[in-house]
Subunit: 468 residues, 2 copies
């Protein structure tokens, strides 16, 4: 494609993009397609000859767009949001154009140093300890994996990485029964084994019970196992429950365990001073992750991983083959040594654009607004006689269900309700189970969310439920 | 940022992007900055109030751009290229705008099914076995890690993932002494231990010697160790040496070892029928990775990972907590179960745009041209009395050095030469060591590369060397 064609097409693309973002609320949030339908609509083989971009883009609109789930739709209430924003998209345009590989300082000094700065900005915005050091990972899954590897590195004085886990003690890791599946995945990957992940009981607010943790650690030690690490949740995926960080930090200190705090979604709320009360004890953690790509208007992927002692992370990952050596290695951060991948995109740029475009105060207003709407909605759900909330609403995730007067099988009723709501295309929600009970999760966190979207959805939910 | 502002800024951005790509050869390839300089130029704290985009972009141009290494510069000859192209950038613009999270089929059906199709397209374009299944990983580092985990899963019948490596045999993995550092990193991460990676001797062409491999496996078995996996290189990082896949496959079959083929860079050459002679035996591998984001004009990140038996990969990674369950789970690919991360960008779109915009024949022409230029340049270097080639030129990477008539310390001479060339801003090269000898690596693979860039660089190299 010649550059004059690119220029023309990119201008048309920009208009399409702006139109899309303007009209995104008019799309069905999730598509009406059946498995295999889209694949069948795409030829089985690549074309031999070049095709004009007009044709390619027409096919995008016809074959792909109707099969997308629209994560930027204001009524996307499922999972956790993967927010983007106009300044973030502008940065992604630049990032793609520069096409820089940011594995070492030398391979793009500005990318490395902007990443350092942005990690400082975020650290201070969240009032994290000033001596913590940050690095951008792709996802919280990777960050949590890094934490387990670091704990392993520290506990084995490096022998785990050098000699492998053959001959090492049987290590155990602890999280709550509500913790994220990425921890179990990390246990597998790290060779620690998913059976050695202890899922500690939670209280009525779905937070880990520290005394149960202590008990389990004690039992494991008695059986000759070696406790390694506690992964605490600041906002579980199910209900954004908060594990008691202070008491957990105390256990970790007493037992000499690594404390990793997974705040993938809810961590962004720490830009609000009034929310920091929930994070008491966080300053005693060894590592911490939160995802600006969830609730901080920054395109996926952008996961901020902080560590108290970067050396353990470096001891885990640093490797400098001859072809990667540079003259500056002793004076700079080579971020390839801070995580699993060698190759790295220039991800700090979008953070810079977002943080400056909104300003700290602008971001606080959005998050604060989401939290207020959540409290307001919680009151409405509580006030409805045939609905109930199943978990505390500390942030902006509401776990609720419909109490059908006709059908006692509430799990089935609510499953049908969810299917019906999502099939309407007017909203998209997901579910989980809390203490075995099927609940709908409603997350009020999309960039473009306004109160009217919440009001319309709540009306639709009630009408749909009562008409089941 | 309001959408009308976004529209205006994005149009200006497009002009900047097209101008940049038009003029990229006029920038110094790598910047003239010292460590810390850029970080110091960025305020220590995020702004409280929103800033106008004009100011942010002006700072980008003033503070960031002069600190970038320009990977899209035609005279970027270092490492391996991280190519982009106009259609790929257009796709990235769309991807950023849609901002879809492609972890499950349901979270964006079109993204999942387009990924399936694109993996089929690439498989057939490279003439890989028709029964192989592909998935996009972020990097080859991750793909190779997946391969080691799959080998571990198969060899332990799942117990490695379930119970951990405590109590498992001491596994050994094999690669050549020229193999990529990501293998050692993967050994650490997987809990296999870097000491259990056996680096097998290479021949004069820097390819693994199968008899040495057999010998080492035999020695390891005699010592009670358990050989697990061989990682063969189709194009090493140092000199793009090709390990003899057929003989290695035979060893793996005899010894019941997993065979992973790392073709991160050179794999793209397999779109040329005439290059497939180098890959004889590849069809017997268990897994294979190559990076369209290197030499196939597709923006980073996009690494194509193929496996013979997807079930082993799924057994390694699949985990379905309640909040991720969907009604279609039994009928679809949920790509979160195919790799380490839960979150995934919509990466198939750029492949679709690139493969259709160039057409298979268009891509073959580019790669073929690079290979021809490399042969031509190799002849020129060989013809120069004071230069020598240090490795066979099978693809488009040339390892060479200057034979100074005045200074016998050729390592130092060539180190100085490289520094001087890179400091000129007219080109960017990197180095490695082959059999202990310091060599310059010159990779002819950038999207925008033309013969005149090679000619100018070769003239500059000779003049600079002779003036040292």
């Amino acid at each position: 494609m010649e550059l004059d064609v690119f220029r023309k097409q990119a201008h048309q693309m920009v208009d399409w993009m702006a139109d899309y973002l303007e009209n995104v609320s008019q799309y069905p949030v999730s598509p009406d397609v059946v498995p295999g339908q889209i694949r069948a609509s795409i030829p089985a083989r690549a074309p031999e000859q070049a095709e004009p971009f007009e044709q390619i883009f027409a096919d995008f609109e016809q074959a792909i767009l109707p099969g997308m789930t629209h994560w930027q739709h204001p009524s996307f209430f499922g999972y956790f949001p993967a927010n983007s924003s106009p300044p973030s998209v502008l940065a992604e345009m630049l990032t793609a154009t520069l096409g820089a590989q940011c594995m070492s300082w030398l391979t793009s000094p500005a990318a490395t140093e902007l990443e350092q700065r942005m990690m400082e900005w975020l650290r201070d915005l969240l009032a994290l300890p000033a001596n913590w050091t940050g690095v951008i990972q792709d996802t919280a899954s990777t960050a949590t994996f890094c934490a387990l590897l670091s704990a392993r590195e520290r506990a084995t004085a490096g022998r785990g990485n050098l000699q492998g886990l053959h001959g090492q003690p049987r290590f155990t890791v602890y999280c709550s029964s509500e913790a994220h599946s990425s921890i179990e995945k990390a246990m597998r990957m790290a060779g620690l084994g998913s059976e050695n992940l202890r899922k500690i009981d939670v209280d009525q607010a779905f937070a880990m019970v520290p005394s149960e943790l202590s008990l389990q650690i004690h039992r494991d030690r008695e059986e000759g196992l070696t406790p390694l690490c506690v992964v605490a949740a600041f906002g579980t995926t199910g209900s954004t429950a908060i594990d008691p960080l202070g008491p957990l930090a105390q256990v970790c200190q007493r037992e000499n365990l690594w404390l990793h705090v997974d705040a993938a979604f809810a961590g962004s709320a720490l830009i609000l001073p009034e929310m920091r009360i929930w994070a008491e004890g966080l300053e005693r953690a060894d590592s911490f992750v939160f995802n600006p790509h969830k609730w901080l208007m920054t395109n996926f992927d952008c996961s901020a991983y902080y560590v108290k002692e970067p050396q353990t992370l470096l001891d885990t990952f640093a490797l400098t083959p001859e072809y990667l050596k540079t003259a500056q290695d002793d004076q700079v951060y080579n971020y390839r040594d801070w995580g699993p991948q060698l190759g790295r995109r220039f991800r700090a740029l979008k953070l810079w654009f977002v943080l400056r475009s909104y300003g700290a105060e602008g971001l606080r207003q959005i998050i604060r607004q989401h939290l207020e709407w959540a409290q307001d909605l919680a009151s409405q759900i509580q006030a409805a006689p045939d609905f109930e909330l199943l978990a505390p609403v500390t942030f902006n995730t509401l776990c609720f269900r419909y109490l059908s007067p006709q059908d006692a099988d509430l799990d089935r009723v609510n499953q049908t309700l969810l299917q019906s709501l999502n099939a309407s295309g007017e909203m998209f929600m997901t579910h989980t189970r809390l203490k075995g009970v099927y609940v709908l999760r409603w997350v009020l966190g999309q960039t473009r969310l306004e109160q009217r979207h919440i009001a319309a959805a709540w009306e639709k939910i009630q009408a749909t439920a009562r008409a089941l």
